[in-house]
Symmetry: C2
Subunit: 503 residues, 2 copies
């Protein structure tokens, strides 16, 4: 005998965690001895043998029959969708054992190494929603703490690819670039993609939204165009334009990564092994053959020493080579923000100035984009070594990059609402005269996030000074933009405590 209950949809979005609800007075809850937070198996049938694999959910107890009555099984939106049965359908529940792969996680916590089959078990259980958020957090921390051996990073990356879909572009040369992040205003992808595509190379750029930064490539592109494209449409656009700038979340590429990110984000966690596995699994799943990785190095960047940068480069190379990627790494200057704007709308302004060859365009952003695009162009066997930069510059200066960008925007669907920098503005001024000796990437990013970026597109920080610039007393260092008063106050307060500039 297993308990039979009537299905009920509970319209709560429990975000990446399957949650089921039972009324405290429900006989099933009392008699089967379920506990809060324990996991249950939901079978599509009264006979658990018949209908194969059950859906797993974490149990919450309800005291209000308006949410779930005794005799009903309430399901949060994501579980309800997975089960795909109408309300009222009788289903059967039982206590669930912890996912089998959790034993491997506990061994990882104890400091052991895991092999490919174990990472496959973990990623499969995560994709099939068998992990609670607690279990996912345990897995992430266990990977980040003792660190993963490079062989483990490879196993994890492979397992992440295996548990999702793979795109195939049918061409031998599919390029991409990826920056490991941590530098505000580092919006080079929106320049590199049109330059490279204008040359005719295939660059189907899919990217994530920001995890801990004030703007991701997808968040920023969204100011200009629709980035939420289904796989079929993405394919057509790439065929037609030779490139795109889309959000990677709609295709099921390394879906474990997206799920883990939902837990990483509240923890602000980022470990080298997780980073490399996350980036390379996404790229391999997206059908990329040639990848340029940008590792910014600086005292307030993610990577803070030459030794650490080299170590990370080797890890990328080790894993990339074994996954069949042609991978190159550039270690770049990460001592300060690249563009002027930090936050989606402000970064779009910078990008468009560069594409328009505007005299106001931020030079460092232009230069970095050209260097990266140049290296990618040299993946083309017909481009002579050392000529990439010049070709990239020609494409940009001639306006062909701008035209290509406009083509991509039209193809993806232009965003008709014109978005402006946040209407609440505050100028942060230099407390004394002198020369700017350092800018704290982390603090600038922090202030931009407090101001509301990337969710409020117009929010962020607009920098007026760079390292080496002279400033007078009370001269503005940057302007904070926000849409909403609460955010505005938080950002201003943070800047008052530490404005991020050393003078």
């Amino acid at each position: 005998m297993m308990a039979t209950l009537k299905l009920r949809r509970v319209a709560i979005d429990t975000y990446r965690e399957n949650v089921a609800f039972l009324h405290r007075d429900c006989e099933t809850y009392r008699s089967e001895g379920f506990q809060a937070l324990s996991k249950i198996e939901i079978y599509r049938d009264e006979n658990r043998e018949k209908n194969g694999v059950p859906v797993i959910a974490v149990l919450n107890v309800v005291d209000d029959a308006a949410i779930t009555q005794p005799g009903e099984l309430g399901l949060s939106e994501q579980v309800y969708a997975q089960l795909a049965l109408p309300e009222g359908t009788p289903v059967c529940v039982a206590q669930a054992a912890p996912p089998v792969s959790l034993k491997a996680v506990l061994r990882k916590i104890a400091g052991e190494r895991l092999v490919f089959e174990e990472y496959m078990g973990i990623t499969r259980d995560i994709v099939e929603n068998r992990y609670s958020r607690i279990e996912m957090a345990a897995f992430l921390v266990s990977c980040s703490q003792n660190g993963l051996e490079r062989e483990e990073v490879l196993s994890l990356a492979r397992a992440m690819v295996e548990t999702g879909d793979r795109l195939d572009w049918g061409e031998p040369l599919v390029v991409d670039k990826h920056s490991i992040g941590g530098i505000p205003g580092n919006r080079t992808s929106l320049l590199v993609a049109p330059i490279v595509a204008a040359h005719g190379m295939l660059i189907p750029k899919t990217s994530s939204r920001a995890i801990t930064s004030p703007a991701g490539t997808a968040d920023t592109m969204e100011v200009l165009a629709n980035v939420d494209l289904d796989p079929g449409r993405l394919h057509d656009i790439v065929q037609q334009q030779r490139g795109c700038l889309a959000w990677g979340g709609t295709a099921r590429l390394a879906p474990v990564d997206d799920i883990l990110i939902s837990v990483e984000r509240p923890l602000s966690m980022d470990s080298p092994g997780q980073l490399v596995a996350s980036i390379l699994s996404k790229k391999v799943a997206a059908g990329v053959t040639h990848l340029l990785v940008d590792i910014p190095l600086g005292p307030t960047a993610k990577v803070r020493s030459q030794a650490a940068a080299l170590q990370l480069r080797k890890l990328f190379e080790y894993v990339g080579d074994r996954m069949g990627l042609h991978l190159e790494v550039m270690i770049t200057d990460g001592k300060q923000p690249i563009g002027r704007g930090v936050g989606p709308v402000l970064e779009v302004r910078d990008v468009m100035q560069v594409l328009n060859n505007d005299s106001e365009a931020p030079r460092p952003l232009r230069e970095k984009a050209l260097r990266l695009a140049g290296r990618i162009l040299e993946f083309d066997p017909d481009v002579r070594g050392g000529q990439g930069y010049i070709i990239a510059r020609d494409i940009l200066d001639s306006g062909r990059a701008l035209a290509k960008m406009q083509g991509i925007i039209q193809a993806q669907g232009k965003n008709q609402t014109r978005q402006l920098p946040g209407r609440l503005q505050f100028q942060v001024a230099a407390p004394e005269a002198g020369m700017v000796s350092a800018i704290d990437n982390f603090q600038i990013a922090h202030i931009a996030r407090l101001a509301g970026a990337p969710i409020d597109k117009g929010a962020g920080v607009d920098l007026h000074k760079r390292c080496g610039d002279r400033v007078g007393q009370d001269e503005p260092l940057y302007t904070i933009h926000a849409e909403f008063p609460a955010n505005f106050t938080f950002a201003r307060e943070a800047a008052e405590i530490d404005n991020g500039f050393q003078i």
Copy 2:
């Protein structure tokens, strides 16, 4: 301007995590740019300056106005109780920054040592419900993985005591015993407490329910008497009886521990530092002055080598000494279960047989209880070294221990419903004749839990053979008891795969 919303109770018990609900179409959700799983601050007042410390909750998004309407702020039961305001009260919400102490957790994940002030920050934030379950899991894993230095264990234990209440019994000698667990049927507390109390020593035994085992002292005592006593009543009982056997969860003793256990349980995690901090903080908060710690050692016990047992003993001694406890450690034989029964009702049967001096009583349970009680009696300055065991035996043989147990049961409130071993029974038989060479504690505990222990009081395993016993082919090794068919099937299936006996 911060968003003002009307309070609404959502009768969902989110168990140790504060959860708030906003409707997807609520203007606050849209305009303030909240994200699912992000945390919000709830102020009791429209002016956030006025009413001090906000309550923190994790945000869930709702699509059903019957749960939370646009313009309302839904609160799960525990947050609603914390806020203690009637429904409809206007409150004010804002985005919450991560708890300040999370930075220390991230440093711990990176392998650094933390100091007392940092552990204070973490425990205070946890007690004040500022941590999500994800964050708690990250803290637990970070502590268990690289391990805590012994100084850190001390800091954590002290911080756990500081963030709760402390009992004061007004006597110089308040004794207790604690077993680190892992051995099924190790129900010595139910014997030690009445023996020691009958001698006149003060033994206010508060214990937890089972975390990962098939029965805790509180779960087992609950078969006989009420264990859920408020602090005032507990005090009266202890004054009158010189002892008690109560659940420690009602007093606010080291409350962080209870919260962390709610996350540890689904992870089945247990690390030495966490273990020592958890046990000693509870004991110090409970006003214990003299503590005997039982560390069972055996190939399938929690501690599996003499070296590990010594290491753990030293950790107990180091932390105990510095917290002002008189602490002694006994390393005991943990190679097999102690009593015959595994599971609350079956263990109570064993305990009562010993107290009744029944000829059927399991000898190993009697012997172990006498040894432990003897050591505790020697904490009494008037007891000559080496005489404790004899005194304990006299108390037990004379029936004074039984009388004391009955006194304690009456005082706590006798459980009138007589509970029997689970009605579904299955005998696991020896597949071949021979001698029992080993019994796997872990597997026996696992089978007992699958059978429904400790939640179904009558569920568990009743052992018929011990190590060294001769068995014939098909002779019963043990009987599985369960209350419910699903559990019964799970337990039988597990025993068929591995019955836990080596012959």
